[in-house]
Every structure is written in structure tokens, then in C-alpha cells.
């Protein structure tokens, strides 16, 4: 049986946040008498993550995903509840715990700006007490996986965002952590760089059985990496389970694009009782229920003179968009 590596029980976090009225009067009032109120950003959440799992945290901006991630890696003290990560209480930040984890943030960097990444790698290696020979071996292995080589010897400020992110990953993984916290790692990267990063993370997970907790606004990151998702809505968990089950539940239909031989056939199909999404000349898109896809296809093939057809799922972004604004999912 695979053991739990992360165990979160009844976790809550409140922050004191100051608010300011608009205008000069508001600014002066804010300067002399700051109004602060306590806001509960995480509300009594519980979940477990098994060793080797890749879990995606989904939620709108400000839903609390990053706060959860930061509590899991020990940067923020929880207000209530308990967290165990790899058998440690994260906020104590014990050396043994810190050597097991890593945090990668897409919008922040730890590499030394004026120097080539290789210098930051050796600095990190000395902090994690990795000897020179072993460091060299690990750099070689990781740079092969990440497909970087010469870039490690060029000052960080001259690297592209994609090359910089790869170097950041290398710096964050030099100590071979087995729990990875990734906060929007593909932010700002082009499609190819995003794909390469995902490929690397999948490979790293397969080879090392590392547990990965990921937040991302790029749905492709979530769908191609995570079997399980935890949806966070306004500080609470609205769904925790398999991604494909959620998608099935939220997307009970398929779109069939039918290319008819003539416009006459298309008009005939339009009037045959199917739910029509749109029609242009001899192309027509119909919407069918998931459980009636086969029978609908049979009907189309037998009764209409068609040239080609395509079956499509509704765009994933559209479905996920619906998840982000809903409070609860019972599946």
C-alpha cells in the first residue's frame, strides 16, 4: 500500500489585511489610522496526498492555492489545524525536512542574476552539503533530462525566459527532493517551453517517484500531468478527486462536426431533430449526449451523404472555467 506523504487536517489560515478608501482623504486616513480586518483565506480544509502522486490545485486568482502550497512547505504558519509533510511539521523548517522538499515559483527566481546558472548550482550544492563529484553527476543528469547544456555557462540576465526556467528547475532539484511544490511553473513560457517542462516533470516523477503538488492557470499543465485535482474555491475545497471523473461530470456532451457532400444534405441534417451548435455551408456541428454518441453516429452515417466527420470534446478551459466559480461538486 502506498503511504501518505502529505496529511492535512482541519487547516485554516487568517490574515490581517488593511483596506483603504479611495482619494486623498482616504489616503490620509489610511496613513494615520490603518483599518485592518482579519480575513480567513483558508477554511478548515483536509486532504491527503500519497507518495508519487501528482496533484493539481485548481482555483481562481485569490482562491487560496498558493497559501496552501506555502503552508505545506513551511513558509506560512497555519492559524488552525495540522499538517504533516514527509513526517515533519513543515513550519518548524527542520534541516531534514528542507532537504526533502523544493519550491519552484514561476514568477520568482533564485538564480544569481549577473552570473551563469552553474555558479548558483554549485552554491546550492554547498548549502545542501553535496560534494563536488556528486554535484557534477547530478548537473549532468538533470541537464540531459532538461535538454540544456551551454546555457548553464551564460549569465542568467542573457537567457530567455524558457532557458531561465529550466535553469531554475535544475537549481531547485540539485538536492534530489522527493516532494516538489510548483507554483505556476509554466507562467509566461511559450508553448514549446511549456511542453518540454511538462515532459521533464513527468519523467522526473516516473524516475524518482517524487510527489508533485502543482498550481497552474494553464489547463494543459493540469490535464497532461495530474490524475487528481483539488479544486479550491474561496478557501474551501470544492472538489477532491480524479480529473477525468470531474470532466465527465461537467461535460456530458460531445460535439460532432459533420461535413456533408452538399448544402442540401446539410440542411436535411439540420432539420432531422439533432441539437445544432452551428452551421456554415455544408458543415454542421451537432451536440450529442455522451451516452448516445454511437447511436447518433449510426443514424448520421445511414441516413445522410457525408464526406467527413470529427468528434470533439468541449474545450477544457471552458469546463475548468465552470469549476472555478462553483462552490461544491458531489461526484
Amino acid at each position: 500500500m502506498v503511504k501518505n506523504i502529505i496529511d492535512v487536517r482541519n487547516l485554516s489560515k487568517s490574515f490581517d489585511i488593511s483596506s483603504k478608501e479611495p482619494g486623498l482623504k482616504g489616503t490620509i486616513k489610511h496613513f494615520f489610522q490603518r483599518q485592518t480586518k482579519s480575513i480567513e483565506v483558508i477554511k478548515n480544509i483536509s486532504f491527503e496526498i500519497k507518495e508519487g502522486e501528482i496533484v493539481g490545485f485548481l482555483g481562481a486568482n485569490g482562491a487560496g492555492k498558493t497559501t496552501i502550497l506555502k503552508m505545506l512547505c513551511g513558509l506560512i504558519y497555519p492559524s488552525k489545524g495540522s499538517i504533516l509533510v514527509g513526517g515533519h511539521m513543515p513550519f518548524r523548517r527542520k534541516e531534514n525536512f528542507l532537504k526533502k522538499i523544493t519550491l519552484i515559483m514561476g514568477q520568482k527566481q533564485q538564480l544569481i542574476w549577473d552570473l551563469p546558472p552553474i555558479e548558483s548550482l554549485y552554491l546550492n550544492a554547498s548549502i545542501y552539503e553535496i560534494d563536488k563529484f556528486e554535484t557534477k553527476k547530478r548537473i549532468q543528469k538533470l541537464s540531459e533530462m532538461l535538454e540544456i547544456d551551454d546555457e548553464l555557462f551564460i549569465p542568467v540576465r542573457k537567457l530567455s525566459l524558457g532557458q531561465r526556467m529550466k535553469s531554475e528547475l535544475l537549481a531547485a532539484l540539485i538536492h534530489e527532493p522527493n516532494i516538489l511544490f510548483l507554483d505556476e511553473p509554466t507562467l509566461g513560457l511559450d508553448v514549446n517551453a511549456q511542453r518540454n517542462l511538462r515532459k521533464f516533470l513527468r519523467k522526473y516523477n516516473e524516475e524518482t517517484n517524487a510527489t508533485i503538488c502543482l498550481t497552474s492557470h494553464y489547463m494543459k499543465d493540469i490535464t497532461s500531468l495530474c490524475k487528481r485535482v483539488i479544486c479550491v474555491h474561496d478557501g474551501s475545497i470544492s472538489y477532491d478527486g480524479k480529473l477525468d471523473q470531474l470532466l465527465k461530470k461537467l461535460s456530458p456532451v460531445k460535439h460532432i462536426l459533420v461535413v456533408c457532400r452538399s448544402e442540401k444534405d446539410a440542411t436535411k441534417l439540420e432539420n432531422s431533430g439533432f441539437t445544432i451548435k452551428n452551421k456554415t455551408n455544408n458543415e454542421i456541428t451537432i451536440i450529442v449526449e455522451n451516452n448516445s454518441t454511437t447511436s447518433s453516429l449510426k443514424k448520421i452515417l445511414n441516413n445522410f451523404d457525408i464526406e467527413d466527420l470529427y468528434i470533439n470534446e468541449p474545450p477544457i478551459d471552458e469546463i475548468i472555467g465552470r469549476i472555478l466559480i462553483k462552490k461544491n461538486y458531489d461526484i
Binding site: 506560512i76 528542507l98 549577473d114 548549502i127 545542501y128 549569465p155
Partner: protein, 264 residues
């Protein structure tokens, strides 16, 4: 906390920091020229003060130069280590990159206090020592082991007090986010350390001894240098340095509990 590991990491800090600085040669050159001009300017200012009066607060010009020498050494240390590192704390907290420091298996205070170095400050330290050697000559001071030991102890204490004050102010960034002005105020107070404590009125002397111990920082090592310091003053400086160092450590650990990290 293993000493061997920290020495090894510090060597890496030195290496990466020097390599970063050497990327910008002109900047280093300008900093070096500034250090020389700053010292010459200070000595000129001091000589104007002593032009009409032979002494200020019982201190002759040659003796006051010792304070200037010690001030120059401490200012060099500030520019070499405190300024580049502790001003970075403000940046770390505002931008949320303190997260990376806190997640490293190394003491966070060690990391943020010593990661960077500005090599041009080292010239100031050298110039300060040169000035002190000149002072030994003009004040006809006898060098012996006890003199050197006491002098080094008081200088070390001064460095500890200065570091603690600087670190204390930088730590408050965790609550106030932007406290850069406060470190500038401290810097301005340090300028006062170029003059003998006796040259100020009684109330100012109390202020600079009790509230902001600038007096301890330069005057006591200078008195030791001249051989007329009393033992109780040296002991007091050692105690003040230890209390400051200990408090700054405790304050940092306390402040970290309130660190909320910047939003993404």
C-alpha cells in the same frame, strides 16, 4: 549548525559575490574613487573644526584622527557587508524571494547577512588602518600585545553593535514592508561617530550612549587606542555588544513567525 559547512558556504558566497561585482568594472572603479574622496573630505572637515581651537572636548586633532580612522574602518565594513546584504532583506520581503532563503537548510540570518560583498568597501577598511598606523606615529603610541588585544576586542564589539542595529531595523521590514528610510537614518547617525563623544552636550551624549549607542562604536575603541580608556567602559561595551547581538537574533526568529510571504 555545523561550522565547517558554514565556512564552506561562506567561501562560495565570497566567490559568487566577487564574480557578480567584477561583471561591472566601471562601477567598482567609481566606488573606489568615492571611498578615497570621502576619506579626504572627512579629514578636511575635521581639520577645519580644529583650525581655530587646538582641541574639541579634550581631543587634539591627532587624537580625533583616530576616531576618523576607526569610523573609516567601520564604514568600510558597513559598505562591504551590511549595506549590500541588509538592504537586500527589504527587497527579499517585498518581492517574496525570502521564501527561497527560508527553504534552504542553512541558518537564514547567516544567509541574508553574509551572502553579498561589495569589494570597494575593503579599500575603506585598508585606508582606515593606514590612517590608524599614521596616528600611532603622530601620537607616539607604544604598541604591545595587551593594547592590540583590547583594541581588537573593542573593534569587534563595535562591529557587533553596528550589525545588530542595522539588522534590527531591516528585520522590521517583515511588518512595515518598506523601512529603507530607517536604515538611512541610522547611516546619518553613524556620521556622528566621526566626532569624539565629549564634543557633544551632556544630553546628546546620553542620547548617543543609551538610545543609539553610536558613542560605543567609535569613541571607546579610540580611547583604548590612546591608552586612557577605563576597564569598566570596555566591559560595558562587551556587554552592550552581546546584548545587541543576542536581541537581534531573537528578534529575527520572532519576526519570522509573522512573515506572510508576498502574494504570487
Amino acid at each position: 549548525m555545523s561550522l565547517k559547512k558554514h565556512i564552506k558556504v561562506y567561501k562560495k558566497f565570497l566567490h559568487t559575490s566577487l564574480a557578480s561585482e567584477l561583471e561591472y568594472k566601471t562601477n567598482i572603479l567609481i566606488d573606489l574613487i568615492t571611498a578615497i574622496l570621502s576619506l579626504l573630505g572627512s579629514i578636511f572637515l575635521l581639520s577645519i573644526f580644529f583650525q581655530n581651537n587646538g582641541s574639541i572636548g579634550d581631543w587634539e586633532f591627532g587624537e580625533a584622527l583616530i576616531i576618523q580612522g576607526i569610523y573609516t574602518i567601520l564604514n568600510g565594513i558597513t559598505n562591504t557587508w551590511f549595506n549590500p546584504n541588509l538592504s537586500e532583506i527589504v527587497k527579499h520581503i517585498r518581492e517574496g524571494t525570502l521564501d527561497f532563503v527560508l527553504l534552504k537548510p542553512i541558518d537564514s540570518q547567516f544567509y541574508i547577512s553574509l551572502k553579498k560583498i561589495t569589494p570597494s568597501g575593503i579599500l575603506e577598511i585598508i585606508l582606515g588602518f593606514c590612517l590608524l598606523i599614521y596616528c600611532i606615529k603622530i601620537n607616539q603610541i607604544n604598541l604591545n600585545l595587551s593594547f592590540l588585544t583590547l583594541f581588537l576586542i573593542t573593534i569587534a564589539c563595535s562591529i557587533c553593535i553596528l550589525y545588530s542595529l542595522w539588522f534590527f531595523i531591516s528585520t522590521t521590514t517583515i511588518w512595515f514592508v518598506k523601512t529603507w528610510n530607517a536604515t538611512e537614518v541610522l547611516r546619518s547617525f553613524l556620521y556622528i561617530g566621526r566626532f569624539p563623544l565629549n564634543s557633544f552636550s551632556f544630553s546628546l551624549r546620553i542620547f548617543f550612549s543609551v538610545f543609539i549607542p553610536i558613542a560605543f562604536i567609535t569613541t571607546i575603541p579610540s580611547e583604548v587606542f590612546l591608552g586612557f580608556s577605563q576597564l569598566w567602559k570596555i566591559l560595558l561595551e562587551v556587554i552592550v555588544a552581546m546584548v545587541f547581538l543576542f536581541s537581534s537574533r531573537k528578534f529575527w526568529l520572532f519576526a519570522l513567525k509573522f512573515y506572510s510571504s508576498a502574494s504570487s
